[in-house]
Point group: C2
Chain length 377, copies 2
């Protein structure tokens, strides 16, 4: 199963791409959704359950793991795959996004970013080189360059400064990555906010440096979906067709379909697990809020036709009860159901792209969401 990183494009259907990524920890069918395992665990699920849900790859957060339990400790314990008992592929982010969103005190300089740990208050330095070192210690199959991710709206001057800084860090990341064991991959990150020319300049410069894959960062940070989709349309044509494209931190089922249509190959998002912990189920017929009292006496499962046993085996009334009394099993079942729905959606898109029926598949998925949930009689 262990192969050096590689990407094969298997089929195209209009803008959508069907592919396969080889990694040292097994293949990843694309378009792929990566469940988020922030602290070396996809919240509420055993690794077996994550895999049974259809996942080829999970994402782990460098920021959290470097603070606790520490990258050197995980390396001493055999690396992140062994540590979290997940034998398949892992992508790690660079830590930059969490530094910006979780640390109250931080200082961005050319050499890197210094921040106060939210765990113990210690000052920590994260440079492009240290971000690569940490991800290498974790043993990530796919590592991300350190970048600076701004919240939108931001001034044109700020957007350009952050994009240039991210480019400089991209070059240093690429050099630092030369010391990492062969077969693993490094992705660059396109920045530039909502400015098309900055975004395209970023994409061109990153392509000139040369990465194994390209991410679009700095989206899903509060902007309207239309802005996000416009930026994808402006950036995708500039990226090399033979490398995977990863839209970071996205999104809703509708976001996934719209982005795949525009040539995106990879996604990660906390929505399926976070919403699952808060009583919300994603289904073929749109979201269902199990907290709602209308489910209290409803004997129907969430979706009797789902491929996921958890969506078939429990009544809505039972899930309502579990959510209402705050039992762990509610979060477990709904996180399982949601990840399975996301994976079913990705698998459906992959099959449709191969068969040249992607537009039909998307129309059918949207028709289901629009039909919405039907209340019990």
């Amino acid at each position: 199963m262990s192969e050096p990183f590689a990407f094969r494009l298997l089929a195209r259907d209009d803008g959508a791409r069907r592919g396969e990524i080889a990694t040292p920890h097994g293949p990843v069918a694309t378009p792929a959704f990566m469940a988020v395992g922030t602290q070396a665990t996809v919240k509420g699920l055993t690794p077996e359950a994550v895999r049974a849900g259809g996942a080829d790859i999970v994402l782990a957060n460098t920021y959290h793991l470097m603070l606790r339990p520490g990258a050197e400790r995980i390396a001493a314990l055999g690396g992140l795959h062994t540590f979290m008992n997940w034998p398949r592929a892992i992508l790690t982010d660079s830590g930059g996004f969490q530094v910006m969103s979780l640390s109250e005190l931080r200082k961005v300089e050319d050499k890197g970013v210094t921040f106060r740990s939210h765990v113990d208050g210690a000052m920590v330095e994260l440079t492009p080189e240290r971000a690569i070192e940490v991800q290498s210690l974790l043993g990530a199959d796919i590592a991300m360059q350190l970048d600076e991710c701004l919240k939108l709206p931001a001034t044109p001057g700020e957007l350009e400064r952050a994009m240039r800084l991210s480019l400089a860090w991209a070059e240093r990341s690429k050099r630092a990555f030369e010391g990492v064991p062969k077969g693993r991959a490094l992705f660059g990150i396109v920045q530039g906010g909502d400015d098309a020319s900055l975004r395209q300049a970023s994409a061109r410069a990153l392509t000139a440096i040369g990465f194994d894959g390209y991410a679009i960062g700095g989206l899903a940070v509060g902007e309207p979906q239309a802005v996000m989709l416009r930026i994808i349309e402006e950036v995708a044509p500039v990226l090399p067709a033979g490398r995977p494209r990863y839209l970071m931190g996205v999104g809703t089922p509708e976001d996934l379909i719209a982005a795949v249509a525009r040539g995106i190959d990879m996604f990660d998002c906390v929505l399926p697990t976070r919403n699952g912990r808060h009583g919300l189920a994603f289904t073929r017929f749109g979201p269902i809020n199990l907290k709602n009292a209308r489910h209290a006496e409803d004997p129907r499962p969430l979706d009797e036709a789902s491929g996921c046993p958890a969506a078939r085996d429990y009544s809505r009334a039972y899930l309502h009860h579990l959510v209402r009394v705050n039992e762990m099993l509610g979060a477990i079942v709904l996180s399982t159901v949601n990840l399975a729905y996301y994976q079913e959606l990705m698998a459906g898109m992959r099959t449709a792209i191969s068969g040249g029926t992607f537009a039909d598949y998307c129309a059918a998925a949207r028709a289901g969401w629009e039909r919405g949930d039907i209340a019990a009689l």
Copy 2:
């Protein structure tokens, strides 16, 4: 699999008994440990995981379920087995113990107990007849009579009063149970605190009324283990040999072995799941507190020779990390490991009783606990 309730004694080894209970929802090998599913879920585990851990039967709490979501609602949804997706046997308690321990305001009278619900503050009446009705609506394979359980120490007068009241309620429970569908079972509960003559009088009177099984209640409420064992020794000979004996709310692994040696057939206890949620693992070599910093770099699993994958698949260092950062997976894995250890212990006792080697088995188990956990090198 559906059989009317029956108990067969298969083997004896000194005081220990090996048997099998038939129920409408499958057989229960005894001595049996019942995992506690207070709110219609064994905390943190899917029903599949509970069964995979070796459980034939679980316990559910009448008090909690009658308040939320309500017994009538569960009945309308097809009963508790369907509701919680657990196709095997269920025993429900009568609600009496939780009324005493959870309700700040309560009034015990001859007719029953009135209490203020901890959920919504409403005043609720629980009589022996209503306790049977609720358990019948839930569809319990084994129901328990309503009793009054005192905390120890208590005065002789109080103990006798509560014992006599529990006996009167036992008679009314028996009569009320005549209306319940055939095949299900009703157990009486021996009370009398730490007074041998009261306990024996209770056991004799209950036997005269005639129940499908007999529980010893009012223990594991703070008294020393020696007191509990002495009472079992005083009560067991008075109970009919052909009926199962259930020691309520017990206990530690050492308690289980000591009570089985004295003729107990059934147990329930929250320890494996509650301690699992608090970072404690039960193992062949005694309890292991995963919160302890000495595990932070320990790559060994909890028990590489365990029959439970969860005890073999995760390092102590990883479990320490999960517990420390308060991730759900820590509680899930440790609850799974603990229930599996309890079930392995019961299965080991059953095999030993059949083979006439119960004393050896207990000595070996105790030697393991005494050896204790060995620290990493």
